[in-house]
């Protein structure tokens, strides 16, 4: 058992437990914090997969931006309780069976996938490679993302602006 | 010659356009606009007989399909559908019937006042549909005109009529929609299998065997066509919409509906059933004979127990269309000629019968046989018409009805004497219901007309209610008794009908000549 496996087990456990607790906690803030656990563990997994830049961005965007945004929303909407236990039981059982089925079906597909090629490690110039790709092959999506950001910015401003009519 | 047939098809619009512009005198414009097709129709009649031009056709390029995209999947074949019209004797016969009946119906609709321009516009569009359908040389065009008639008729019957017209309109739409769905399926299948929708080409391809359809495709096409026109005809289980139409809608529209639109089925079965698939037709002729007999007996028996004159005529039509189907099902030359003759003659007969319905309705506000009596004293003219129509309907010699039914039964005796016998029994039944209706209306005391002095409301509550959409006028204010006197727009079409019925009965040859090609 080498270090990679240990870290993998740790991080994946973290990701799954965090995900489970998002649904289990009744207070929205706790749910958010357990989501942060997932996000951070995910970035750990990315590092294991030699995607350091993405891992950094993951930390910044998810654990930073999105979590803070959510916290603001929780505070602004004075969120106190989450779902009550009674309702959870009523709504969840019909959904859980197809999802477990789905999981089994997909797991059957992925449990024996063995790529013929050797794994590739992206070393120190990971960021450089990403940058090069973004500005060559993915230039158009990149530009489109900027338009998308503009639209979202405008949209968020109109929607969130407080005014009386 | 190019464009002549298009002129024929779109001739109603030549003056009909005026309806969009001129607000007043809609009825004058409408009659003028329906008269123009009569002129054009007689021009073609003249050409057909005097100059001996047997077939006129017209063709313009229209739609082309570019199958591409997934080129790798299939060899792209270039398909086209052209705008093709063709006129032969049989089409001409139906065309003449159409223009005549539309013209007479337009005259009879003189009194319509509400949304008059819309009425005449729809009538003209309906006429275009009917004319186009009889001269369409390809199935695609036929279908377009076919649907056009359904939509126009939906609006006409839903708007102009009495209580229950909306229901009738929806029945019409859904039944005919279902029928046209089958037709569409058949047409698309044929188009894809053979690459053409042109009727003559299809005939050629299918008869010479250059296109081999597999059994399943062939039968699904034949059955689709049968169901489509079976609904239109109407054949027994699908007749309900037609009875509703007959009994709730303005008589002028019913004249067209019963006179022309039901004949689309004859035409369609003749052209696409027998014409394209003669072998398959022979194989199922037994089934068709059975349905034809069912129609005859069902129609006659139900007509016997109806209390509404309009429903009597409606079930009578079911029975008569049974004869038409019988003739077609026999498939012999005599049978087909008889069926076609019967179609045309039934068009004229039901035109006259529903004209009488219009006369009675405007005078007595009811067509209930139980309430009507003693018409002989009040309106002898109506009784005269009733007798002529009734006699023609039950197929007495010297009327056109005789020739059609005679030919059909003759054809039946040639191959299936049993069927012929049964059909003859059907004629006896027809005598029963027609005489019952005519006699009980004509004889007996005049109905008590308490309504005459201002209390019409109670007696005719269904009709006088403004909001129920009664669109023809009961003119009580006039000094002379309207029950006895007749306006021009009433007796003129009636006389024309009578002349045609008797004329065809005495000298049927000139109509049969149209069918020589068949």
């Amino acid at each position: 058992m080498n270090g990679e496996v240990i870290f993998f087990v740790l991080f994946s456990l973290g990701a799954i437990i965090g995900a489970v607790f998002v649904l289990v906690f009744r207070k929205a803030v706790y749910a958010l914090l357990s989501a942060v656990l997932t996000f951070v563990s995910m970035s750990g997994l990315y590092i294991l997969l030699t995607a350091e830049f993405v891992a950094g961005v993951q930390l910044l965007i998810y654990s930073g931006a999105i979590t803070i945004l959510m916290l603001f929303a929780i505070m602004l909407t004075k969120q106190k309780t989450g779902t009550t236990r009674k309702r959870m039981i009523r709504f969840q059982w019909p959904v859980i069976i197809p999802i477990v089925l789905l999981m089994i079906i997909i797991f059957y597909g992925i449990h024996k996938v063995t790529p013929p090629r050797k794994p590739v490690s992206y070393g120190k110039n990971n960021t450089e490679q990403i940058g090069e790709l973004i500005f060559t092959q993915y230039m158009i999506p990149f530009e489109m993302i900027s338009v998308l950001l503009l639209a979202a910015l405008i949209g968020a401003i109109i929607l969130a602006k407080k005014e009386n009519t | 010659m190019a464009g002549n047939l298009s002129l024929l098809v779109f001739s109603p619009l030549v003056f009909g356009i005026l309806l969009l512009v001129v607000r007043k005198k809609g009825n004058w414009i409408g009659i003028l606009a329906t008269f123009f097709p009569v002129i054009v129709g007689s021009f073609f009649f003249h050409q057909y007989f005097k100059k001996g031009i047997q077939s006129i056709s017209e063709k313009w390029p229209w739609i082309s399909f570019h199958p591409k995209g997934f080129d790798s999947l299939k060899d792209p074949s270039f398909l086209t559908i052209d705008y093709e019209l063709q006129l032969d004797g049989i089409s001409l016969a139906f065309i003449l019937l159409t223009v005549l009946l539309t013209f007479l119906a337009a005259i009879l609709s003189w009194n319509i006042e509400k949304h008059r321009n819309l009425y005449f516009l729809l009538l003209l569009l309906l006429e275009i549909g009917m004319l186009g359908l009889f001269v369409a040389a390809n199935l695609f065009l036929f279908f377009i005109f076919f649907e056009m008639t359904v939509v126009c008729l939906f609006f006409l019957s839903g708007k102009y009529g009495e209580k229950g017209k909306e229901k009738a309109a929806f029945h019409l739409l859904l039944y005919n929609g279902a029928g046209s769905a089958f037709l569409l399926f058949a047409i698309v299948l044929l188009f894809l299998q053979t690459g053409t929708v042109h009727i003559e080409q299809l005939q050629h391809l299918l008869h010479t065997g250059s296109v081999q359809l597999n059994e399943l495709t062939k039968w699904s096409i034949v059955l689709s066509i049968l169901i489509a026109f079976g609904i239109k005809m109407p054949v027994f289980p699908f007749h309900q919409w037609m009875v509703l139409m007959h009994s709730h809608v303005h008589p002028a529209i019913v004249i067209l509906h019963s006179g022309v639109l039901l004949k689309i089925a004859t035409y369609g079965l003749f052209r696409f059933g027998i014409g394209l698939f003669p072998n398959e037709w022979e194989k199922i002729s037994g089934l068709l004979l059975f349905f034809a007999l069912v129609n005859i007996f069902y129609g006659s028996l139900f007509a016997l127990r109806q209390m509404d004159l309009r429903r009597v005529w409606a079930y009578g039509s079911v029975a008569h269309m049974g004869f038409v189907l019988l003739g077609l099902a026999l498939g012999s030359e005599t049978g087909i000629r008889g069926a076609l003759f019967q179609s045309i003659s039934h068009g004229l007969i039901s035109g006259l019968l529903f004209l009488i319905v219009a006369l009675i309705l405007t005078r007595f506000k009811t067509t209930d046989i139980g309430k009507l009596s003693g018409l002989r004293q009040g309106s002898p003219f109506a009784v005269f018409l009733l007798f002529v129509g009734g006699m023609a309907s039950l197929g007495l010699p010297a009327t056109s009805g005789f020739i059609g039914e005679f030919l059909v039964i003759l054809a039946a005796f040639e191959h299936h004497p049993m069927v012929g016998t049964l059909a003859s029994v059907g004629i006896v039944l027809a005598t029963g219901y027609i005489l019952r209706a005519i006699l009980s209306i004509s004889y007996g005391p005049l109905p008590s007309m308490e309504g005459e002095k201002g209390t019409t409301k109670d007696f005719y509550s269904d009709f006088s209610d403004e909001n129920k959409g009664n669109n023809w006028k009961w003119n009580m204010e006039k000094k002379r008794d309207p029950r006895v006197t007749y306006e021009v727009y009433e007796w003129l079409p009636a006389i024309v009908f009578v002349l045609f019925l008797i004329g065809l009965g005495i000298y049927p040859q000139w109509l049969i000549e149209f069918f020589v090609g068949a």
């Binding site: 994946s12 799954i16 997932t38 931006a65 309702r87 999981m103 794994p119 790709l133 999506p141 | -």
Partner: protein, 98 residues
């Protein structure tokens, strides 16, 4: 060495948990968080394939960056809508909204 299917399985589990939350929970914020979990699982898939895939190349990481951006956008707009709703209705519980 950890195999590809191990990463894929982790992603699958997280995805299914997220899907379950999104379909069954009635609290809007939790639904948003669940959708974020699903998107994270997607990213893990993409990045796992950049290393272990059948044709390993780095474009999966670029895609993951795009996905993150889109996720952030959707959350931003979602929260803005949530705020307007809260102003009008004083609740964000889906049961009470309807």
């Amino acid at each position: 060495m950890v195999s590809l299917s191990a990463y894929l399985t982790v992603a699958l589990i997280v995805f299914c948990i997220g899907l379950f939350g999104a379909l069954s929970h009635k609290n809007t914020l939790i639904v948003f968080l669940s959708i974020e979990l699903m998107l994270n699982a997607v990213n893990l898939n993409f990045i796992a394939f950049t290393k272990y895939g059948f044709f390993p190349n780095i474009s999966g990481q670029v895609i993951a960056l795009f996905v993150m951006t889109v996720a952030a956008l959707e959350v931003a707009i979602g929260l803005a809508i949530l705020l307007t709703l809260y102003r009008n209705k004083k609740t964000i519980d889906l049961d009470e909204i309807y």
